[in-house]
Symmetry: C2
Subunit: 216 residues, 2 copies
DNA sequence: TGTACGCCCCCTGTTTACAGTGAGTTTTAA
DNA sequence: TTAAAACTCACTGTAAACAGGGGGCGTACA
């Protein structure tokens, strides 16, 4: 029986402890590292490249410093041999889609059964991918709704401006902040109003919140 | 050594499994029931009143059907002998305050250490209360911040206007809708901006969302 | 009975947002 | 390499929001 080396990243220590308890029953899984942020995992992998051969990183999505999405991206770029399994309680269409685009190996919600988690891990370690049904549902729903198209239709700069608008900055202030002309910002605001099909700052702000560009 | 009867309610099965693993090491704790919603716990307690004597209910806050706040309230009303410990990852000032007002026996965040959880449980079973430092911080911050008072200081009419503002109506439109003068609405908007300490429609909209006056 | 508060209205300004139109430059991707 | 998309800037208006005043009217409550 082969031995596998695992890393777990979750900023909820209690959950982490729980996960450890669950995996403790399986002797073929060796937990090399547990971390409460993605940054420590990335650092570990970068430093111990080639020496250790980590098989799987299990990670939450919401974490300080480096979240699960960024961690997965880092792993897939710098350590493509390492498998990744996301275990999260959030599973909005956007997150799922981003992760699958970034070639994540699996996604299981935190309300999954213990058995399903084990199954996901073994499946992934066998070289296949594993996604819970609820995750697949979310993914498909996201594909056919227009929610996503709104997100995608916004460019980087537009999102940046939208964020600042929702943070109550005036056009002039945003222009100063971004070292752009006031006219440019006005153009962006106009386009945003048009694209998002709203009438004014209030509507823009609601979308900014929905897109998670600002807190609260 | 006394034996204690526990109930655990959490809709994240994986977390629940983890909690069970943690508590399995302590033989004096007998897990009578686990549930993924507060409703089942309330039902169990109501039916088995007097027969079983549950000592402690450990519960999450966010659950379907009956959430942790409602469950705690139910327990404290109908089964005052049963202790309650909230284990949650959300701990906003409002939630903490409501729960303490409802006489919850303890509150530990999910990112707490395993040891702290055990400590909380033993403390509560000894008849005392236990709140993590981070929870106390949140509580105190909530006490001395103006967050809550801001909300409460809004009159009925102000909330009505605020709602319409967040729904992207202009001053004139709101005036027409409410059969008021445009000047009146402008006064309200001005007062709202002043009271809520924001700068413009964007800030007002965020507050309207926070107050739940509008959807999304 | 007076004073606090919610509600309603008005005036004068200044600033900002909104609407329409047009156009050059750079980046990206087919 | 060319076309599309993103990014940038400009001009002209009109409408609305923002800022700072003031005041009257009714009710509740101490």
């Amino acid at each position: 029986m082969k031995n596998y080396k695992l890393i777990i990243a979750d900023d909820h220590k209690m959950f982490l402890d729980g996960l450890l308890s669950i995996l403790a029953s399986k002797k073929e899984y060796e937990i090399i590292l547990t971390a409460n942020s993605g940054k420590n995992v990335a650092k570990y992998l970068d430093i111990n490249n080639d020496n250790e051969s980590i098989d799987l990183v299990i990670t939450d999505v919401n974490m300080p410093d480096l979240n699960g999405i960024e961690l997965n991206r880092h792993i897939k770029n710098k350590h493509p041999k390492v498998k990744t399994l996301v275990v999260s309680m959030l599973h909005d269409a956007q997150t799922v889609q981003t992760l699958t685009q970034d070639n994540v190996d699996g996604y299981v919600p935190k309300n999954a059964e213990k058995a399903e988690l084990i199954h996901a891990i073994t499946t992934i370690l066998d070289g296949e991918k594993y996604f819970s049904q609820s995750i697949k549902d979310v993914y498909l729903k996201g594909m056919f709704s227009n929610e996503k198209s709104l997100h995608e239709s916004l460019s980087k700069r537009e999102k940046e401006v939208l964020k600042l608008i929702a943070q109550e900055y005036t056009t002039q202030e945003i222009a100063d902040k971004l070292f752009l002309s006031k006219h440019t910002i006005e153009s962006y605001r106009k386009n945003l109003i048009s694209k998002l099909e709203v009438r004014n700052l209030a509507g823009l702000t609601k979308h900014a919140l929905k897109l998670g560009l600002v807190d609260e």
